[in-house]
């Protein structure tokens, strides 16, 4: 891709000595970009290094800068697997696994399903789409108030169904330490699946109608059409949606706070909640930092290959 900058470079070196003014003009774009870049380097990458450093100290209430080795990590991992009841970190990563897996899977399935339904020349699509998507525009701190109420056995769904005459109905997951994480899954799916639907719908709209027509003429049933032709064509969307969901899942924080306040005995914690609690409430800064580093590494493993492939100079 030819750009303005390159054409300028070609012009300038031939001249004897460019004036200060024109040299300033040439550097101006970089000067304009510099503050943002510097901010990113210091406040993102510098701070990440700082957090990594802290995770190797024994900082408690206040940061300490004496390296004491990987004690925080050893505590995180050593602490955990055998204790009964399980430790907070063990709970957090188990929850992360359950939540991440179900959240991504259900959002993908539901998003694709809704997108396919909406793509059948539906009247009122313009009304339905925004309804499916609005949860993404609201803070979960807000909608969590309603969800918490809805899932509360004494007030919400259970109570309503009892009033309607189904008195044996029992639904107290939100108060049950073994099931509370599944309520977080329900709420998370509710929030993000509409967005995933929109991604798939955009993908479906981008598929060449000729291919569909040709397949129909060949006698493919609708099911075959979607399974054999449409869904394979949507592969790039699956990848993007997976990346978005994985990264949302790891960053989920207010979902747990608003819905469960951490759940009974911290049983709904995700690593993000663990980090916050240990760093700011339990005065275990080094342990909190170590958990933040582990979260970051997980994201890096998912995002960096993706960004690299997206940004790599494509031959034109």
């Amino acid at each position: 891709m030819s750009t303005v900058a390159t054409s300028q470079i070609k012009l300038t070196p031939e001249r004897s000595r460019p004036s200060v003014r024109s040299r300033l003009q040439d550097a101006l774009p970089k000067i304009v970009l510099a503050p943002s870049f510097a901010i990113t380097i210091v406040f993102v990458y510098g701070f990440i290094l700082w957090t990594i450093y802290l995770s190797f100290t024994n900082s408690k209430t206040f940061p300490s800068y004496v390296i004491t080795g990987s004690r925080a990590y050893q505590r995180l991992w050593g602490w955990t697997f055998d204790t009964d009841p399980p430790s907070s970190w063990y709970t957090s990563i188990t929850n992360m696994g359950i939540f991440g897996f179900l959240y991504i899977l259900i959002c993908l399935a539901l998003g694709l399903f809704l997108a396919i339904l909406l793509d059948q020349k539906i009247r009122g699509e313009g009304v339905l789409r925004p309804i499916y998507l609005y949860p993404m525009a609201l803070s979960f701190i807000v909608t969590g108030v309603a969800w918490k109420w809805f899932l509360d056995p004494g007030l919400g769904l259970e109570q309503t169904l009892h009033q309607w005459g189904w008195t044996s109905f029992h639904f107290d997951w939100i108060k049950n330490k073994d099931f509370v994480i599944y309520t977080v899954v329900i709420a998370g799916v509710w929030q993000a699946s509409g967005f995933i639907m929109a991604m798939f719908l955009a993908g479906l709209r981008g598929i060449d109608g000729e291919i569909m027509k040709a397949a129909q003429i060949d006698g493919a049933t609708t099911f075959q059409l979607y399974r054999r032709i449409v869904i394979p064509l949507l592969r790039p969307i699956f990848l993007s949606a997976f990346i978005v969901l994985a990264h949302l899942a790891i960053k989920s924080y207010d979902l747990v706070v608003a819905l469960t306040s951490g759940g009974p005995g911290g049983s709904a914690w995700l690593p993000s909640n663990f980090m916050y609690e240990y760093t700011f409430k339990r005065n275990e800064m080094a342990v909190g930092s170590a958990s933040a580093v582990i979260m970051l590494m997980t994201i890096v493993a998912i995002i960096v290959p993706y960004l690299y492939s997206e940004l790599r100079e494509k031959p034109r």
Partner: protein, 314 residues
């Protein structure tokens, strides 16, 4: 399963399956619409009910005698922690934080996008990649250092206050949050503008350069007048994100008078003195949701475009 696939040669029996298919599809779509709308609906109707009606009635029923009192109470009287002056102050806190943060981060994003596409230099892609990655980090990995820095800046502000008489806003929680949101927002805003300007004809800029237009003249006269759609997308995206933020807000303004709306709401809901007034809680939640909800209703299309731009390379 769908109308598209029913070949025309299937005669009358085909017509009836076709109709049945349509009914099933519309039924499913309506069912899911109810699922997505349910929490908002419950919030809305409950916020207009009296406590009596909530305790004895059905949560899905419409209010029998709609009352606006819960809204008034949430706005002006309800307790956030120990202060009982409603959430109005916190609402304005959020406004004071969101407006400058959105404007600054959007302007910076526009300039960055302009430089990164139209004034490319060696390493521009790397610079962009580094800024882009910043969008994806879990903020937990920068939370603590930022808290430390903001703490020192705050102490410096106090020193200034004592010696010079003004702290220049240093240590002010709202200023801190504006700063934090700008820092961790420019990755997104730069991404939006870069992708938009990438498709902008470079010939126009070349022509302007030949005519002697400077860097800023080109930006002001050529780029800005043609950037309206992406400005709308970016402003809406940033507005929604910053208004809805909870993590930074609770870490850096979790107590005191400067807390933004989301933190205050969470406190209202979790204040457990006396009877829990669900109607007031729901009204408070609705008030907190209104700004983003209005933006979504008015300009939802642009909001979705912003979300998509963050996910798929535009």
């Amino acid at each position: 399963m769908s109308a598209v696939a029913t070949p025309a040669r299937q005669a009358s029996s085909g017509m009836s399956t076709k109709t049945l298919n349509r009914i099933v599809i519309y039924g499913l779509l309506a069912l899911f619409a109810l699922f997505y709308l349910m929490p908002l609906f419950v919030m809305l109707v409950t916020s207009f009910k009296t406590m009596d009606e909530i305790q004895n009635g059905n949560m899905l029923a419409l209010p029998k005698a709609p009352t606006f009192d819960p809204w008034l109470k949430a706005w002006g009287e309800t307790c956030v922690g120990l202060t009982c002056a409603g959430i109005k102050g916190y609402f304005w806190n959020s406004i004071k934080m969101v407006v400058p943060a959105v404007l600054i981060s959007t302007m910076l994003g526009a300039l960055n996008g302009y430089v990164l596409t139209k004034w490319r230099f060696r390493g521009a892609t790397l610079v962009f990649g580094l800024m882009l990655f910043a969008c994806f980090i879990p903020f937990q990995s920068v939370l603590l250092p930022m808290a430390t820095i903001l703490g020192s800046v705050g102490r410096f502000g106090v020193t200034l206050q004592n010696s010079v008489g003004t702290s220049f806003g240093l240590g002010n929680s709202t200023v801190n949050l504006v700063f934090v949101h700008v820092v961790y927002g420019i990755g997104f805003t730069t991404l939006f503008f870069r992708n938009y300007y990438e498709a902008f004809p470079t010939e126009l800029i070349k022509a302007a350069q030949v005519d002697g237009a400077s860097f800023f003249q080109i930006f002001r006269r050529i780029m800005l007048p043609n950037s309206m759609p992406i400005f709308v997308v970016t402003v809406i995206y940033q507005f929604t994100n910053i208004w809805n933020d909870f993590l930074f807000a609770s870490a850096y303004a979790g107590t005191g008078d400067a807390m933004p709306m989301t933190v205050a709401l969470n406190n209202v809901v979790n204040t457990s003195t006396g009877v829990v007034e669900y109607n007031v809680n729901m009204a408070a939640a609705m008030i907190a949701a209104l700004p983003t909800l209005i933006v979504y209703v008015v300009a939802g299309r642009y909001f979705v475009r912003g979300l998509m731009a963050g996910a798929v390379k535009g």
